[in-house]
């Protein structure tokens, strides 16, 4: 069933203003169509019957905010989601990264970590893991706790295993986790090179330089103005000849920074080309 339409357009704006002024999270440049659905969905889940009720809870219960941020952002992800993208990384990009003494990869908006773990597996299989560091960031502290635990629902493993094989994986996917009742705990070694921390693409700045930035299905939730800011942040955080990987239907084509990037693969991977 579809979410109800409880919240009016102008009420969305009040809510965004409250959350920013009270807690510092700035959602003002999130795409409204999706954001409004998320807020209506929260009303459905939490059984708020009016905007006033939701607003009252947000203003008066600071501990509720964590849950609000978690639900208002989309945390749907998979291991090896779009297997052909991961095949592209495996076959075309990792061999090029292999020439660096230290490989730094940023998974921006990593949510519960499934893509970061997928990349760790790719690096292992390419014998590059020992000289790699994967930085996984998200604005949302609670999803990072899930990423840190490395425990995912067992029922997902069938899909992940199929994705893994389609991505060109040759091993038995179940070698990477230990099944326990309804959960799968991923091998500790996949966390050794994984650094998880909070980072908000809306407000935080560049914190390192990378040879690969992976940011998939995050920019779709931002308006073009915010997308432009994030592309600038990525441009500042990428070494020359570094790679930027976006979601299957995301593009840098509409950005001014398009000229600094050359698309290298039909799976939405771009290479940074310094014109200086």
């Amino acid at each position: 069933m579809l979410e109800p339409s409880i919240i009016k357009d102008e009420e969305v704006e009040y809510l965004i203003k409250d959350v920013y002024e009270l807690y510092g999270y700035d959602f003002s440049q999130y795409s409204r169509a999706s954001f409004k659905r998320r807020i209506n969905r929260i009303c459905l889940i939490e059984r708020f019957t009016s905007f006033a009720e939701l607003r009252y809870t947000i203003i008066n219960e600071p501990e509720y905010l964590k849950r609000f941020v978690e639900e208002v952002t989309v945390n749907v992800t998979e291991m090896f989601r779009d297997p052909y993208f991961f095949k592209g990384l495996r076959e075309k990009i990792l061999p090029q990264l292999g020439t660096y003494p230290l490989i730094r990869i940023w998974v921006a908006g990593c949510s519960t970590g499934e893509e970061a773990y997928s990349i760790a597996i790719l690096l292992k299989e390419a014998n590059l893991y020992h000289k790699s560091l994967i930085y996984g960031t998200d604005l949302n502290p609670s999803v990072l706790e899930t990423a840190r635990a490395g425990v995912f629902p067992l029922q997902q493993m069938k899909l992940y295993s199929e994705n893994y094989m389609l991505s060109g994986g040759k091993k038995d996917f179940s070698d990477y986790y230990t099944a326990n009742y309804d959960s799968a705990k991923f091998d500790k070694s996949l966390q050794e090179k994984l650094i998880l921390s909070t980072h908000n693409l809306v407000s935080d700045s560049s914190f390192n330089s990378f040879q690969l930035i992976v940011c998939r299905n995050v920019l779709i939730y931002f308006d073009r103005g915010l997308q432009e800011r994030v592309f600038r942040l990525f441009d500042n955080s990428l070494e020359n000849l570094g790679f930027l990987a976006l979601g299957a239907k995301e593009t840098i084509r509409f950005s001014k920074l398009d000229k600094n990037f050359h698309q290298v693969d039909d799976q939405r991977i771009w290479k940074k080309i310094d014109h200086n």
Partner: protein, 190 residues
């Protein structure tokens, strides 16, 4: 049929199992000078490539586009919602993609796109639901009707899989029942 004349700004077509043949039949006979865009929301496998775009483009000179995030909406183009994303409308100019939870076991969900379009386009929207094996789209059609848009449903008698249009006919006040061989004509007359 009693209708006031309203400029159509968007035609949205939703379909699932059995709808591809209807779409192909329509594409072959559709005018190449439409004053509005047509957007297709079809249930597909998650990893399907742009094969549908290539297939449809063979039959028509009007440009067929698989939608990227923040794509501008232009008249006289045919847009396809990509596999594994929901399509939403920011306004009458811009479309956004969304990869949130599936709705009715579907992503794209016809309901999600129909509802979003109903709120943005109101009475200038025509929503069409074709053959299919699940109820996705029925609730969305009701939203389109509620916002004074036009609702067309494939005559269940002509549907390869009649579950979806049958439910729609039972539950939504519709303006027109269409058949595979007259859908293009009706669209051309808008």
């Amino acid at each position: 049929m009693h209708t006031e004349s309203t400029n159509t700004e968007l035609v949205l077509i939703g379909g699932s199992a059995g709808s591809l043949q209807v779409i192909l039949e329509m594409i072959k006979n559709i005018s190449e000078k439409l004053n509005f865009p047509i957007i297709l929301v079809l249930h597909r496998k998650a990893h399907s490539t742009n094969i549908l775009q290539t297939l449809l483009q063979q039959f028509i000179s009007t440009e067929v586009v698989e939608i990227d995030d923040k794509t501008d909406i232009r008249k006289n183009k045919i847009y396809i919602v990509p596999a594994d994303y929901h399509l939403l409308f920011e306004n009458k100019k811009t479309m956004s993609l969304d990869s949130s939870e599936k709705m009715n076991y579907s992503r794209p969900s016809i309901d999600v796109t129909f509802k979003s379009a109903a709120e943005v386009y109101g009475k200038t929207l025509v929503g069409i639901l074709l053959s299919g094996a699940n109820a996705d789209g029925v609730e969305g059609l009701a939203y389109i009707k509620k916002n004074n848009g036009k609702v067309w449903i494939q005559d269940p008698e002509t549907a390869e899989v009649d579950y979806m249009p049958k439910h729609a006919v039972e539950e939504v006040k519709y303006d027109l029942l269409i058949k595979p061989d007259n859908l293009a004509d009706y669209i051309n007359q808008l």
